[in-house]
Amino acid sequence: MRLASGGTIDRTKILNFKFDGKSYQGFAGDTLASALLANGVKLVGRSFKYHRPRGILSAGAEEPNALVELRTGAHREPNTRATVAELYEGLVAQSQNRFPSLRYDLLSVNGLLAPVFAAGFYYKTFMWPASFWEKLYEPLIRRAAGLGRNARLPDPDVYEKSTAFCDVLVIGGGAAGREAAAEAARAGGRVILADENAPGAEIEGAVYLPRTTVFGVYDSGTYGAVERLADHLPASPGPRQRMWKIIAKRCILASGAIERPMVFGNNDLPGVMLAGAVQKYISHYAVAPGKNGVLFLNNDDAASLIPILSEAGVHLAAVVDSRPKSTELVREAALEAGTPLFAGSVISQAVGRLAVTGANITTSRGQSIKLECDFIAMSGGWNPAVHLTSHLDGKPVWNESIAAFIPGALPPGMEVTGAAAGAGLNANIAPLWSVKDAGPKAFVDFQNDVTAADIALAKQEGFVAVEHLKRYTTLGMATDQGKTANVNGLALMAQATGKTVPETGTTRFRPPYTPVAIGALAGPHRGKNFKPTRRTPTHDWAAGLGAVFIETGLWLRAQYFPQSGEDWLAATSREVNAVRNAVGICDVTTLGKIDIQGPDAAKFLESVYTNSWANLPIGRARYGLMLREDGFVMDDGTTARLAENHYVMTTTTANAAKVFQHLEFCHQWLWPELDVCFGSVTDQWAQIAVAGPRARDTLAKLVDAPFDISNAAFPYMAAASLTVCGGTPARLFRLSFSGELAYEVAVPARYGAALARALMEAGSEFSITPYGTEALGVMRVEKGHPAGAELNGQTTAHDLGLAKLLSKKKDFIGRALATREALTDPVRPTLIGLKLVNPGDRLRAGAHLLPQNVPAVAAHDQGFVTSVAYSPTLGHWIGLGLLQNGPSRLGEIIRVYDPVRNGDALAEVVSPVFVDPEGTRLHA
């Protein structure tokens, strides 16, 4: 209930909100939790497994019980802790994990079956029959035991990301943190103060980030933090949250401490709360959790609550101190307040159904006393919040005198101050990890419904190591990561095994400290902006012609140019026919182009390619094969020699960056003595393939005199620098991927679109046709050229029929390991062509190749189909594949087996070169 005065809330600003459909009011400065308590709402959720009624335990981020679904629709966020959700006008929240309502939850019958539902229940019970697990048991368990529901709609909010640098990062804006930040600011230097809570006073000279949780510590002084920009507002046009990567030379951790519950029967009833939380609700929010309470403690710190309750006019029925003689401080405080003190006593059970109505006290003499009360404030001592100190694997150390873990080895650059370091905590504490004979429902981990009995069971079953305890019982998992449970849990295990707490140790803390929305981690990189897009110089020109685009890595490439009514197959077939019968153009800018210069350029090429380069004349290009160091094929391309020590290497589009990295590695690490420089010119040059019987006739109109493009002057594989279209600098290469008479013409990228238009104009009398990557793909399959599907990282030069390119006269990357017996065994699947026996059947890449008349099992698998195309040139589907002993089986009929897509057909093994096997068109 709300107290008449006091608190830091703004009583002039009334806020309306809804919880489970009912309307309430609170004040600006309230959290959802404080506003609910002010309205006398104690029941806020149902527990994870047993569906027990639960109330608000704490006043902070460590809250395990009061988890709500906040907001509605696409903004709905599950598992929001009511204790940190700032109240705003129109806030809507729903309780979780109950059906049909919080009061009348059907699944609370689980509580009756509690003895059966102990820890390890799922692992032991739903084992048979095994097939039932996936379809029946798991979905049922998932429905019965759960936290909140995901909205299942795209996140409508905008998130930002940013990087910040500073000399000192102070984490925690309490007294210790503020002082540290002020001091660091006075000393000069760049200071950032990050605090989870709503804004307080600014600190002069420091960057102040309120509503900001530092969730993780990473290498090299890097810290991850989330700033909540708009979660406290009804709506915001701007970003909802901002993720910070903070790089700090030094860090001061002032994260405070988290109170420990006491472990006794039914300590999870609504109304049983941490003593420090009760104090905070009264002092900060002017909210009393009830009218008549009992305080249960084992340390002097919690006694500060006694006068606070008095001043607030809240009746304290008793102070129960587990320490045999209590202490002078507690005795005096109780006397002053006129409250009975039970020294050497414990609360054995809390009593109540949907909220606490009484406490059963067991005195030092073994007497049982029942007291009526409507709240219980418990304090088992405080744990310094050491989590961030151990994200880089530092282990906290047990401090016997305060019976708590304090920071041990710290991340480089970090120091700890205040309660986080254990200062001023747990005066005169006598640890009580659990009351005796606590019964089966004394909770240790409220969020995961783990009791003291579960820990005893885990020990009985042999799961004594603290990491096993966690996984067997689920203690310390889920959204609160055991903030109020871990120490009680491991101390109970220590007691059960007769070990000390330090011998038992803690589980490892990992980021994030509190949950982080995935949207915050993504920032602006979502949807189409997940990765950047690269466009070719002819992109707009192709789009203007109605091209359909395909993503190739980061690039958008024209895939096909459908004319009215055409689907992809019709367009592609038309484009292939146009190229083979007349002429077509295709943008090939995306293939990596690497400019290589220097006195040792040829030596460098000799070392990275398998074939010879030293004898390549100026003005010629050559196909090159590149292996990885393990002897497998990495990439292929053509490299042209433009001058004495000047080459341009091309790579496949997909491997451009990889090859460049490989060259850098070779140059910097393997052969730093070689005098060679290389740089990417992929973007500098727009490059267009001109292919087909009329290619020369088309280009002849564009090349500037006196350049001679005749077959004699510019034969297959020639390369030259020239000008085109009245003085535009250009390079011309006579290369063919399609198997037709073909060239690639390159101009500086700004002229790419104009070159495409000029080619279309020059070729119009030959019905020149733009073609895309689909047609490009069909033609290379028709010619049996290996491409991405065959250069899959698992094939060797032998597999692809390129063994003759492995020079025997020089060393090159991959040479030695490529000679391993297993890599040259002909039984390895090697490249062949496939022609369906029945043309009406369908070939699909990925189908398996088996001999006829044997069972279709893995033992008979002899290879698979790598690439498939409909060949308009031949009028039927064709494929390339890798088949054991492939080249020696030409003419054999084998089975193409594709059970996933219901394919089962017969095909003849043929040469992979389906069109123009003699290559006469190339040299036309």
């Binding site: 930002e160 990301k161 940013s162 990087t163 910040a164 640098f165 760049r190 701007g238 970003p239 990567k245 790089i247 602006p524 990189h525 902006n529 990765k531 950047p532 897009t533 690269r534 466009r535 070719t536 110089p537 707009d540 690039w555 400019d595 210069q597 220097g598 006195p599 005098d675 420089c677 290389f678 740089g679 990417s680 010119v681 992929t682 973007d683 500098q684 040059w685 727009a686 085109v724 279209c725 009245g726 003085g727 535009t728 101009v747 500086p748 990228a749 700004r750 002229y751 790419g752 679109a753 104009a754 070159l755 000029a758």
Partner: protein, 165 residues
Amino acid sequence: MLEATILHLTATAHVQLAPPRSMVSIAAFKTTAAALHQAITLPVTPHCSLSEDITFLWSGPATWLALSEAPDLESRIRHLANGLAAITDQSDGRAILRVTAPAAKLQKLVPIDLHESAFAPNATALTLAGHIPAQIWRTTTGFELCCFRSFAESLYHSIVEACEV
């Protein structure tokens, strides 16, 4: 001559495409590196230096990017240093954006420290802008970011989103 297509990126309050400049990359050959430094004064730390109307940007070990509004940059560099370095025209291979927004806005994309104390005028770095590799340098009015031409639209949209919101 073929018609040139200019990148079409609408200027906003703080972001615009830099005026077109010639760009040439220079990479020193090992054996002639000393002679190259004699022929041209080049920054040997990550900085830009101005020599007449040519800006030389350090772009990696023994590598530089020369920028100039003069159209004949490549031939001038060849005149000074032919045979001493790999000289490659990159006038079409790069796009440059000019940003006058405060550094804090750019920090949403750039993961290095852009504060004056860490990134002084004439400092340059090879880094990322979001997921796009970029070279950044500080000018008197703000920053310039240089990326591969094919990334220009993506980089522009990222920077506008970061700087104009």
